[in-house]
C-alpha cells in the first residue's frame, strides 16, 4: 500500500498541531462557539446527540494491520473499546472527549492516518471497490488512481470551499461494487476497442433528499487524462454550483439545471485548457504510486485441505458459500468478514476483534485489509488452504457469521442512536430484522438480498439503492419507516420506488416479513432473486402484501 512521503507526514502533523492549538483556545474561551465551529469539521470532528464523534478517513477502504491495531488502541484509550465502520469505508469513534482529540489525531498520524476532509464542503474520502486488486473480474486495480485523486484533492486550495460536499467513487471492474452511479463523480474502468484502459465518467449521482443516478459525461476517458479531467469537472462545479440553497448545491442539481450537453461542453473546454498545464507531472506521480500497489507474491500450494473441509464441514461450507468471492488467482479467495452478527450493530467492531483481524491479515492475508461500504471487513488475498484455519479463528471471536449478501447483511447508518441529523433510529430496526430472519431460519433460502436502512432523508444508509430500502422519518413526533423496493447500487443502478404510507417502529419488522414471504410465494424458482422477481412483477403484489394483508390482519 501507499506509504506517506516526508511531505505527507509533515502536512498531517502540522494539521494536528494547528488543531491542538485551536482546541486549546476553544477550551480557554479565546474562541467562541461560532468561531470554532468550522475548525472541528475540517478535522472530522462532529458534535452528535450524546457526545462528539470523530470520523477517520480510510482512503479507498485500504488499511494495514498496523493501522488497524492503532484504531483498536484509540478505541481502548480514548473511546469505549469499539469503532463503527461506515458506508464511506471510514471509521467513526462515537465517544471521544474534545480535549483528547488532538492526542487521537497524533496517534493517527503515527500510522499515516488522519481525519482531514471527512466532513465539510470539500472532496471527501475517495471510495473504491473493496475487492480492488483481487477481484477476478477486474481490469486494473483502481487504487493507484484513487490515491492520485486523494493526493490531488487533499488541501487543494481551489476546492476547500465547494458549494457542497463532493464524493468520488472508483472501480476497476465492470461489475460495480462501489456504487459509482450514486456519486458526484463515478469512475468505472473500461477497455476501448484498441484494448486501452480508460474510465466511463458518471456525474451527478447521489442519494439524499433528491436521489439521482449519475449520467455519463464521457464514455471513455483515457487513464492518463484522469486528473486534468476531474480538475476541470470540479472547477466547472465550483463556478456553476449553487451556493444560494444548500439543498440545491450538489452537482446533481447543477447537472439537472445546466443540462448534460452544456455541462459536458464546459468541462471539455476547461479540460483542454488544464491538460496542457499538467505537463506530465501527474503521470510521473502516478507511476510512483502504482509501484506501491504492486500485488503480493502469491503462494503456490495445494488447495486440497480447503476441498476436504468444504465437503466435510457444513458450517464451513455455509460460510464459504456466502462469504467468499472469486479471486483472480485460482488458488486464492477474497474473504468478507461479516460485521453483521445477528442482533449486533452493523459495522461495529470491538478493539479485540480489530486486533484479531489484524493478526489474521498478517498470518493468512498478505497483510492487506479493506473496509467495504457495506460495513464489512475484507481480507482480499487468502490462499484457499488457509481458509479452514481462518474460519476457525474468526468463529472464536464472533466474526464467522455466514450472511454476506443475505437479508441480515444490512447496511444501517448510526441513525438517531448517535447522529444529530437523524430523524429516527436505524440500528435497532436492523438488529430486529436480522434476528427475526435468523429465528425464521430462511435467510439462506431467500438468497441474495440487499436491505439498507437510513435514519433520515440524507440516506447515509444508501436506502435508495437497496433491493429493500427503509428510510426512517419523524412523522408528527413519532418514528415512522417507509419502504422502497427495487433499488440497485450496481452497474444497473436504479433508485427504489416508495411503496406507500410508512410503518410505525413496531410495525416495520412484520412489514418486511410480509414482503419476504410474498416474494417466496411469487418467485418462479429459488434461483429467481428478490430483485429479479420485483422487476418481473412490479410493485403491485408487494404492495398487496404490505398493506392489504396488514388490513386483513387488523380486521380479523
Amino acid at each position: 500500500m501507499y506509504n506517506y512521503s516526508d511531505f505527507d507526514d509533515a502536512f498531517v502533523r502540522a494539521r494536528v498541531a494547528q488543531f491542538a492549538q485551536q482546541v486549546e483556545r476553544r477550551l480557554d474561551g479565546s474562541l467562541t462557539e461560532d468561531e470554532f465551529r468550522p475548525l472541528p469539521l475540517m478535522n472530522g470532528l462532529y458534535l452528535q446527540l450524546h457526545a462528539y464523534m470523530l470520523r477517520v478517513a480510510i482512503p479507498y477502504g485500504t488499511v494495514s494491520p498496523r493501522q488497524m491495531r492503532q484504531l483498536a488502541m484509540i478505541a481502548d484509550t480514548w473511546d469505549k473499546g469499539y469503532g463503527h465502520f461506515t458506508t464511506r469505508q471510514n471509521i467513526q469513534f462515537n465517544w471521544p472527549k474534545l480535549p483528547d482529540v488532538p492526542a487521537i489525531l497524533a496517534a493517527l498520524a503515527d500510522v499515516e492516518m488522519h481525519a482531514i476532509q471527512t466532513s465539510g464542503n470539500c472532496v471527501r474520502n475517495v471510495t473504491a471497490d473493496h475487492f480492488a486488486g483481487a477481484a477476478a473480474d477486474e481490469i486494473e486495480d483502481p487504487r493507484p488512481y484513487a490515491e492520485l485523486l486523494r493526493q490531488w484533492s487533499t488541501d487543494h486550495p481551489e476546492f476547500q470551499f465547494l458549494p457542497r460536499k463532493f464524493k468520488i467513487a472508483i472501480t476497476g471492474s465492470p461489475n460495480d461494487r462501489a456504487v459509482t452511479r450514486a456519486h458526484d463523480i463515478g469512475l468505472r474502468m473500461l477497455r476501448n476497442a484498441a484494448g486501452e484502459t480508460g474510465f466511463e465518467v458518471l456525474v451527478g449521482g447521489g442519494l439524499g433528499r433528491t436521489p439521482m443516478i449519475g449520467q455519463v459525461v464521457r464514455d471513455f476517458l483515457p487513464v492518463a487524462d484522469l486528473l486534468p479531467y476531474v480538475e476541470a469537472l470540479l472547477s466547472v462545479y465550483n463556478s456553476f454550483g449553487r451556493r444560494d440553497n444548500k439543498y440545491k448545491a450538489r452537482i446533481k442539481i447543477t447537472l439537472h439545471e445546466t443540462g448534460k450537453e452544456e455541462l459536458s461542453r464546459l468541462i471539455e473546454e476547461k479540460f483542454t485548457e488544464l491538460r496542457r498545464q499538467f505537463g506530465g507531472n501527474d503521470q510521473r506521480l502516478l507511476a510512483d504510486i502504482r509501484a506501491a500497489f504492486a500485488p503480493p507474491v502469491f503462494r503456490t500450494a495445494s488447495t486440497d485441505s480447503f476441498d476436504a473441509f468444504y465437503s466435510a464441514d457444513p458450517v464451513f461450507r455455509a460460510w464459504a458459500d456466502t462469504n467468499l468471492a472469486p479471486h483472480r488467482h485460482p488458488d486464492y479467495a477474497i474473504v468478507t468478514i461479516s460485521l453483521k452478527a445477528h442482533g449486533k450493530t452493523p459495522g461495529d467492531a470491538t478493539s479485540h476483534q480489530m486486533r484479531l483481524i489484524a493478526d489474521l491479515a498478517e498470518r493468512h492475508g498478505h497483510s492487506d485489509l479493506r473496509i467495504s461500504h457495506e460495513q464489512n471487513i475484507i481480507l482480499p488475498h487468502v490462499h484457499k488452504s488457509d481458509l479452514p484455519a481462518l474460519h476457525a479463528a474468526l468463529s472464536q471471536a464472533g466474526l464467522a457469521t455466514a450472511n454476506v449478501g443475505l437479508i441480515s447483511d444490512i447496511i444501517a447508518c448510526p441513525g438517531m442512536d448517535y447522529c444529530a441529523l437523524a430523524t429516527a433510529r436505524s440500528i435497532p430496526i436492523a438488529t430486529q430484522i436480522a434476528q427475526r430472519f435468523k429465528t425464521l431460519d430462511i435467510e439462506h433460502d431467500i438468497g441474495p438480498l440487499k436491505l439498507k436502512i437510513s435514519g433520515c432523508i440524507n440516506a447515509c444508509g444508501h436506502h435508495h439503492v437497496g433491493h429493500i430500502g427503509i428510510p426512517g422519518l419523524d412523522r408528527a413526533g413519532v418514528e415512522n419507516y417507509q419502504i422502497t423496493l427495487g433499488g440497485d447500487g450496481t452497474q444497473t443502478a436504479v433508485i427504489g420506488e416508495k411503496t406507500g404510507p410508512g410503518f410505525a417502529y413496531s410495525e416495520i419488522v412484520p412489514a418486511v416479513e410480509r414482503l419476504i414471504l410474498a416474494y417466496l410465494n411469487l418467485r418462479l424458482s429459488p434461483e429467481e432473486t428478490f430483485l429479479t422477481t420485483f422487476r418481473r412483477l412490479g410493485m403491485l403484489p408487494f404492495k398487496d402484501a404490505l398493506y392489504i394483508e396488514k388490513d386483513a390482519h387488523h380486521a380479523a
Binding site: 477550551l27 462557539e33 452528535q48 450524546h50 469505549k80 472527549k97 480535549p99 433510529r425 440500528i427 435497532p428
Partner: protein, 100 residues
C-alpha cells in the same frame, strides 16, 4: 383543540465531554432532565437561552427543547429529547450507564 401551553427547558452539550446537559433554575448545568428549569414564559425562555449561550467555555449548542411537567420534574416531549436523556439503544452507554 387548545394550543399546547409553552413549556421548555434549556439544553446543550458539555463542551469537553459532549454529554447532554440542562440548565437549572439556580444557574447550574445538570446531566438530568428532571432537574432542569421548566420555563413556561416565552420571554423568560429567550433570556435563559441567551444566558446559556454566553457560557461558551462550558457548553456548546444550546437550544430550547419542548418539555412538560412530570412526576419527578420536567420530562421530554419529543422522542429525540427522550433519547438524549438516556443514550443510544444498542449499548448501555451514555447517561443510562449510570443506572445499570
Amino acid at each position: 383543540m387548545t394550543p399546547r401551553a409553552f413549556a421548555k427547558v434549556v439544553t446543550a452539550n458539555d463542551l469537553r465531554i459532549g454529554d447532554v446537559v440542562y440548565l437549572t433554575a439556580d444557574d447550574r448545568w445538570t446531566r438530568h432532565h428532571h432537574l432542569a428549569e421548566l420555563i413556561e414564559d416565552e420571554a423568560h425562555a429567550q433570556m435563559r437561552l441567551l444566558h446559556a449561550i454566553a457560557q461558551k467555555s462550558v457548553i456548546v449548542g444550546a437550544y430550547l427543547a419542548d418539555a412538560r411537567q412530570g412526576g419527578r420534574g420536567p420530562e421530554p416531549v419529543h422522542f429525540r429529547e427522550a433519547f438524549r436523556t438516556r443514550g443510544p439503544s444498542n449499548y448501555a452507554h451514555g447517561k443510562q450507564a449510570d443506572h445499570v
